[in-house]
Amino acid sequence: MTRLRSSLFAILLAASALATAEPLAVVVNPDSGITRLSRAEVGRLFMGAQTRFKSGLVALPVEPLNPGADRARFYQMLVNLPLPRVRSYWAQMYFSGQAQPPHQARDYQEVLEIVANSKGAVGFVAQSQVKGQVRVVLTLDESESR
């Protein structure tokens, strides 16, 4: 009975954390001329199905290695796939000469630096971390994704 209570508590705690998880902001360089991206287009850019923006500008998707939990949340909200499947998908894409995976930055700070300095870069950061010369073009929120 004690074990059951502990399990229920853990589940409630996890559900609570999920419900309060911070939204993720998809950011681009202001000079790109892009003011809004759809979730589908961001999905295609980060999954290698689209290598340029509609304007013709070559896209450079950037993802932060840390925190890893947000990377998993990003792909869950974007394409509803778990991170291990995203990795195996990229092995398939890369080793069949089709596309290469997003550039991996160390953390949010490096994502913001790359996006601010590269016209075609598109990345994501926690909403509260948005700062500097970047433009938010899409916000991903668990409550909207479910």
Binding site: T51, G56, P82, F95, G97, P101
Partner: protein, 420 residues
């Protein structure tokens, strides 16, 4: 990973050089993939190969050759819209060696977001999930089901492909691909010293695929050409066979009264498949049919159903695959073993094996589990319950084989460099 010595690459894959494998910045990149595995079956009356390109297969002893392989890939950006890919794979192949072979050597041009041109050598790709069957880490199973993928006699084509993608809105994408080129492939023939060379045939094909949210559907058509006849001495017995056919007024003979040579024989096929991937679910259904313009080669149809469900890092799965050819209609083949000359008998044995080997009748129930124990590696354990009529999907048939075998396989797949 930038171009660095191979040893450094392997160290990175092993985690000895943290961070190296994550470097995907622009520039020359070296990456790789591999599988270390063992397989064993419940019988020594037959061998269970990964594909028809292997000269022997797993038996009741632990066999590391069937599934183990190593690949290296170099990616070279040549401008904003152009890049080159070079890939070599070492695996157990037709000549019984692990001699590396070039599986990719392409230039890819991507002038606009929706259009891609690729030229050079690329692995033969017939089905969605077989896009690169050498990369075990990229798919759910230990190996793509042999009932569909093992039958491909071609390993690559030297040619050109064009892909056009259309954004239909509402998360829907439609794409078309057309390809053409010359085939590359060798298959061992167990009764002869020389392998059958399928290289040089003219092949064309294409597919349309539609992706809507978690659904992907694909319809594909293709035509391949068998470029050479059977190697001697089997090829030289063609006239004998044709003579039997003419004497018996076989209605299936071509107007020329010839079953052979196979040189120039055209094979055509189509496939239809659907994949559903959402959250923890990964499901796939595929049907394919092939037929040939030579009476000797009978039509074949194959299919698979696969379902996996992810529980964190672990993903149990099940699969059913079946392949069946139409019955062979050469009644006079049974008369051939009556030939008394030893050389003729050897040739007839070869012909009989070839003809019987073209008739596939096999199905497999599989259950397994994939464990993603690291960001760049997985462990898979799979049990296959197989029923087989005999070659070509199982080989080295011995008297006493009752058609049933169980295959147990355990593999570790890994990627390094560009594969994240």
């Amino acid at each position: 990973m930038r171009c660095k010595p191979v040893l450094f690459t392997i160290l990175a894959a092993a985690g000895a050089v943290p961070g190296l494998a994550q470097d995907s910045s622009a520039g020359c990149q070296l990456g790789g993939f591999g599988t270390l595995g063992v397989a064993a079956t419940t019988t020594n009356k037959v061998g269970y190969p990964r594909g028809t390109f292997q000269p022997s297969g797993a038996t009741h002893r632990l066999d590391p050759e069937t599934d183990s392989r190593l690949g290296l890939q170099l990616r070279l950006p040549l401008g904003e819209s152009l890049f080159g890919t070079l890939q070599a794979v070492s695996q157990y192949q037709y000549d019984g060696t692990f001699k590396p072979a070039i599986t990719w050597a392409t230039l890819t041009w991507n002038p606009v977001s929706t259009f891609t041109v690729r030229a050079g050598r690329e692995s033969f790709e017939l089905y969605e999930s077989g896009r690169n069957e050498n990369v075990g880490y990229s798919y759910l199973w230990v190996r793509p089901p042999v009932e569909l993928f093992s039958q491909s006699i071609l390993t690559a084509i030297d040619g050109l492909d064009l892909t056009q993608t259309l954004d239909l809105g509402s998360e829907a994408t439609l794409s078309f691909k057309a390809w053409g080129g010359r085939s590359v492939g060798m298959t061992p023939l167990r009764t002869q010293s020389q392998p059958m060379d399928f290289s040089g045939g003219h092949d064309i094909g294409g597919h349309a695929s539609l992706a809507i949210g978690p659904w992907r559907g694909r319809v594909e058509v293709w035509q391949v050409q068998i470029p050479h006849d059977f190697p001697p001495p089997t090829g030289s017995v063609a006239q004998v066979l044709d003579g039997y056919g003419v004497a018996l007024k076989d209605p299936g003979l071509a107007p020329s009264g010839s079953l052979f040579p196979l040189q120039g024989c055209i094979g055509r096929g189509y496939s239809a498949g659907v994949v559903y991937e959402e959250g923890p679910v990964q499901a796939e259904a595929l049907f394919t049919r092939t037929y040939f313009d030579k009476y000797l080669l009978t039509p074949n149809q194959s299919g698979l159903l696969s379902l996996g469900y992810r529980l964190g890092k672990v993903m149990p799965y099940g699969m059913f695959a079946k392949s069946r050819s139409a019955p062979q209609k050469l009644p006079y083949l049974g008369m051939l073993p009556n030939l008394s000359d030893p050389d003729s008998r050897k040739v007839v044995a070869g012909i009989t094996e070839l003809v019987n080997g073209l008739n596939v009748n096999q199905y497999t129930y599989s259950a397994g589990v994939r464990w993603d124990f690291s960001d760049h590696a997985d462990f898979k354990l799979q049990v296959d319950r197989v029923w087989s009529q005999g070659p070509p999907l199982v080989i080295n048939l011995q008297p006493g084989f009752n058609g049933h075998l169980t295959v147990v396989s355990a593999v570790v797949d890994f990627v390094f460099g560009g594969g994240r």
